[in-house]
Symmetry: C2
Subunit: 211 residues, 2 copies
């Protein structure tokens, strides 16, 4: 597997012990996440927008309506930064100074480009749907021509990218270890609850990925 | 409660039915979230970085080491965009086109400024600690002078801001309602697991907020 490319923009400068340029780890994080935070600048103003995304091998896919600010802006070849973060735990140290979070994050930089071909865009939309729920594109009605034309898909190569993470317990100063303060980690996980059916689906089987 | 200020930058242009300028709702989302995605531009390159944050009434607090890129950059008065997103559910429609996510998000724009006064910065660090776990700043050892000087706190007014959210079930096209495809919502929640104690805390009481 080809390593990620580290540039001055993606090099982790603070706490480099928390950084990895491991592509497999980046894919694992991207495949587990559900929301990307997409950053771009318009006239010097930064914007950060939460978006649905998907991964097609070494390309990150985003999608938005044709008229959205992001699609209009990045269609012009403006650089974007896409960040996906998984929060794994609260790190409670004996000193407030060493409080932290356990997390895994991927930052990808580059220029996103529109997928112009209708068939290829349809395939990308399947990937995006399957990222919401694995296998879902084969269960639901696929996009028709009108829907395909109303949607833009943006592709960003997963190339200039970095992974940053923190794991494990608190790192207290030695002189604090005897303080009578509980310290440790509170693990956090995202949990799926009982599916809430829409009207009229009684008797239909749940999506395979939910059973 | 003073309404949020909507500007051309924060006005929600796509699906404005999903937008609110309700300050109380913005605070609710900010108080529930744990990670902010902070966007800023350096030499035209956008950066989006996950960060710990806190809320002190109508000010968003961020903190970072003095030498971090964010602190160096925004200390110079560069505009930032801070986004906090809560993912509430997967929306499974009968057509792939209407698949979506339920979420609540706040976008805040403006200029972040350093807190120069040591005492005020100490108070802000308590707010940041208590955002990780309520009441925690009163339990753990507070920052000493050296730690205070190693840390920067950035303050961003919660003023030019907007809330965007999606709730409820799928919005399928009428002609799709009879398709034999299950549709509905899969609720997602962040769940705290059993606390993992650090070495040497046996017999010490758990933080009040965890019991």
């Amino acid at each position: 597997m080809k390593p990620l490319t580290t540039t001055d923009r993606t090099r982790v400068k603070r706490q480099p012990d928390r950084s990895r340029d491991d592509r497999a780890l980046a894919y694992e994080i991207l495949d587990e996440g559900r929301v990307a935070h997409v950053g771009f600048a318009v006239d010097g103003s930064p914007f950060v927008i939460p978006m649905v995304y998907g991964r097609d091998d070494d390309r990150l896919l985003l999608h938005g309506a044709k008229a959205s600010r992001l699609v209009r802006t990045t269609g012009a070849g403006i650089p974007v930064c896409v960040t996906v973060t998984l929060l794994d735990g609260l790190v409670l140290a004996r000193s407030t100074f060493h409080h932290s979070m356990n997390y895994r994050s991927v930052v990808i930089m580059g220029e996103a480009h529109r997928v112009e071909d209708d068939d290829e865009r349809g395939r990308c939309l399947d990937v995006l749907t399957d990222h919401i729920l694995p296998g879902r594109s084969a269960e639901a009605r696929g996009p028709n021509r009108v829907e395909l034309r109303q949607t833009d898909v943006l592709v960003l190569p997963i190339e200039e990218a970095s992974v940053k993470l923190r794991t494990g317990g608190p790192k207290d100063d030695p002189e604090d270890l005897d303080l009578p303060v509980w310290a440790g980690v509170v693990p956090l996980t995202v949990t799926a609850g009982t599916p809430i059916p829409d009207d009229g689906v009684d008797g239909l089987p749940l999506p395979a990925a939910l059973t």
